[in-house]
Every structure is written in structure tokens, then in C-alpha cells.
Amino acid sequence: MISVKQGCTNRRRTIAIAAVLMAIAAAQGLSLLMRTNQLWPFNSVAVYYNYADKNRAASNEVFLVDANGETRIAATGLADRNLSQRFISALERAKSKPERDRVAKLFFDFANGRATAPFRFTGLRMYRKDWDLAKGRVVESVLLAEYLKR
């Protein structure tokens, strides 16, 4: 048998949970409508939902430079794709070439700081590569930012 006190507690809890549910639904709904991630941890979860051309896609690639050429930064273990996204977002916000190159320098310094072995690299380049998915190859490569140590 449920006492009056227990009943009141349950009712208060039900109302609180209903409020939480509505808050979750509202925050998720807002994220979806505004297509924003600013309400994190609520998120629009925009996972490959739309494209202008289903055979085209772009990738952002970051390379470290040394005397032998370029090495993909993800292959060095100094920054994975997730980490690189933070710098690529900054690159997208940058309005001029010097600002973009500044991002490349920040990324270079960050990678240098994370290196446990002697850091042999002398520069960093950030590219946007456009893919033809049907053919499985890059059709255009654009150098977005570059930093080379003097």
C-alpha cells in the first residue's frame, strides 16, 4: 500500500522526470532545427545525411614536412582525425591566408609538443582534397595552409 507521503514524493518525482524529458526533447529538437552543436552535449547528429553529388566527397588532410617529403600526420601518431578536426575548424573560420598559415603553425607547434622522440619535421601543410568516389581517386587537391620553419 502506498502512503500519502510516498504518493506525494512519487508525484513530485514524476513531474521532475517529465520536466527532464521535455528538456531533452527541446534541446535535441532545437539542435536539429538550428543544425547546431552549440547546445552540446545535445547534438544534431548530422551523420552523412545529405550531399550535392553522391559521387563527390571532400577530405581534409594534414601532412608534416621533412627533408624526404610529406608524411600524413595521422600516420605519425601525433594527432588523429579527431584532434585534427579542431585545427581544421579553425582553418574554416580563418578569413585570410596569414590567418590560415597561423593555424598551420599552431598545429605544427602542437605536434612538436606531443612528440616523444626527436622531432624531425620542419613544416606542416593542410590540404582539402576532392574525391571522385565512383573512380576512387582524388580529382583536386588544394593547399589551404602551410607553415615551414625557417
Binding site: 551523420v47 553522391k54 588523429d80 578536426q85 579542431r86
Partner: protein, 300 residues
């Protein structure tokens, strides 16, 4: 409507189910934090700091602060998993997790990778999940009322956290290309993963991805399945149709598992821990009438 909501929420729960979910959830969450390599975000330059609304008033964390909070978070997760000072540990995970993962997502790029786990950690902070299978319960032997709804609503709310994000993903796919061209969307998704994204990650995916990309009918079925399960996952919250829940949530789990293993997304797509709240563990692990940690077995 209020009555229906009350009935949905006020059902007898199981302390064992909630406790086993707690152990699995925090255990998986801890593994995921290591896979995610959260410590690598400690030295991001403050110049990139563009926090989301949640941390808008906070400055970029120093390396010492970030790593300190992260290590405390890992300890709190371990304590919550084992069940030492369970309530405090769960609250610590929620607070520290919000700060640490908020900071990770505060450098101009916020993603959904850990969103459901963080939302669920707030549910668990309010839940009496340490009443069974915890060191607290073993030492103090709290009185556990059989079938209290206190053990039921956290499970439901944790389920809602997953469904809210999944439903959003489905709605956006339906708004995009997945409804009008499921095969094209699925093929494009697979090829993007195989070529563009795997190059960014410096990994190679199995060539079976390319083989699948040529099977149009399979792609249509898969595309429709993804859309149906994501859009329909809210139905799985109902207690009325158990088979619907098994089909929808089972399929979503399998699809995420396939993504994690086949397309190598495990470190960055850690929603798997959110599924532990969908399994009636007390029925899987315990036999009726068995006593565990000095507690009475609750039948639900």
C-alpha cells in the same frame, strides 16, 4: 496522458538490473575514454578555444587542470563501476565528465561522439544504482525494497537519452537523401568511409566495403533498415511490444557494432555503452530466488 506517463514510469524495478547496468556502463565508459585518448587534448592551444554554450564562461583549461580533471574522472568511473561511495562517484563522473568532454568539444568543433554517455551519466548521478553489486551494499547492506520504481525510472531515462540522439540522426537522414535514394546514400556513405575518411585517419578498410557498394538491392535494404530503426526507435520505449524493442534496438546495436569493427570507428563512436540499459540483466544473470550480495532478488 499524465496517467499513461505515470504508468510508464512507475513500474517495479530491479536493484540488480540497475546495478549490473551501472557496472557495465561505467566499465565501458572508462574503456572508451582510454580508446578516445582524451589526454591528447590537454595541450591544444588556447587560441583555438571556442566553447559551446555550456562552457561559454570558462577559459581554456590549462594542461595541468585538464589532466587533473581527467585523472579524477577516470578514478571516479572506476569507483562508480566497483561501487565505492557510489552516489558521490556517479555525481563526480557527471560533473567532471561534463567539464572534460565539454573542454574537448570547446575548441571550435563539437561532435556527438560521447554525447549519449555523458547524458546518461547525469541520469546515473541521480539513481540509487549502488544498492546492489557494490562495495557499499556489501559493507552496509542497505534495505532494498522489492520492486521499487526507484530502480526503474533511471533505466527508462537512460533509454530516452539514446533514443533522443538516434531519433535526431534518423530525422536528419530522412530530411536529406536517405528517404529518396537509400541505395545512393548508403553507397556514397560506404565509399566516403573507404576512400576519403580512411585516408584522413591513415587506416585501410577491408575491400569487402567496395564489394558491398556494388550490391544495389542490399544497399536499398540496408538504407531502409537504418532509416526505419533510427526514426522508429522511440517506439522501443514502449513496454507494450517487446519484439519491436528487440528488433529496433538489436538492429541499431548490431549496426553500430559493425561500424565499430568493420569500418574501424570504435575509438570515435562510443555509443555501445548506452545499450546496456536495454538488457534485463537480472533475467540473464540471475535465477529466480537466488540471493546476491545479501539482497532480495526482484522479479522485474
Amino acid at each position: 496522458m499524465i496517467k499513461t506517463f505515470d504508468q510508464w514510469l512507475e513500474q517495479p524495478g530491479s536493484a540488480e538490473r540497475l546495478a549490473l547496468s551501472r557496472i557495465l556502463f561505467y566499465g565501458c565508459f572508462l574503456v572508451q575514454v582510454f580508446l578516445y585518448d582524451a589526454s591528447s587534448y590537454a595541450t591544444l592551444p588556447a587560441e583555438l578555444w571556442r566553447p559551446t554554450l555550456l562552457l561559454a564562461l570558462f577559459p581554456a583549461p590549462s594542461e595541468a587542470l585538464f589532466l587533473g580533471a581527467l585523472h579524477l574522472l577516470e578514478i571516479a568511473m572506476l569507483l562508480a563501476c566497483v561501487g565505492i561511495s557510489t552516489r558521490i562517484s556517479c555525481i563526480a563522473v557527471a560533473v567532471l565528465g561534463t567539464y572534460v568532454f565539454g573542454a574537448i568539444n570547446g575548441y571550435g568543433h563539437a561532435d556527438f561522439h560521447l554525447s549519449p554517455l555523458l547524458l546518461i551519466s547525469w541520469v546515473m548521478a541521480l539513481a540509487p544504482s549502488g544498492d546492489a553489486y557494490s562495495l557499499d551494499a556489501w559493507l552496509h547492506r542497505p534495505a532494498v525494497a522489492k520492486g521499487r520504481s526507484d530502480y526503474y525510472w533511471p533505466i527508462k531515462l537512460a533509454q530516452v537519452c539514446l533514443v533522443a540522439l538516434m531519433g535526431t540522426a534518423g530525422a536528419l537522414k530522412a530530411y536529406g537523401m536517405w528517404l529518396s535514394d537509400p541505395a545512393g546514400a548508403m553507397r556514397s556513405f560506404l565509399l566516403y568511409k573507404y576512400y576519403a575518411q580512411s585516408t584522413e585517419k591513415a587506416i585501410s578498410l577491408p575491400t569487402s566495403v567496395l564489394v558491398l557498394a556494388d550490391w544495389t538491392w542490399v544497399l536499398i535494404l540496408l538504407g531502409i533498415l537504418v532509416l526505419t530503426c533510427e526514426l522508429g526507435c522511440a517506439v522501443a520505449l514502449s513496454d507494450r511490444w517487446l519484439w519491436v524493442r528487440i528488433v529496433i534496438i538489436g538492429n541499431l546495436f548490431l549496426m553500430q557494432l559493425v561500424l565499430a569493427v568493420w569500418l574501424k570507428t570504435l575509438p570515435t563512436f562510443p555509443w555501445l555503452a548506452a545499450y546496456v540499459f536495454w538488457v534485463p540483466w537480472e533475467r540473464v544473470f540471475l535465477r529466480r530466488g537466488s540471493a546476491a550480495v545479501g539482497l532480495t532478488y526482484c522479479s522485474r
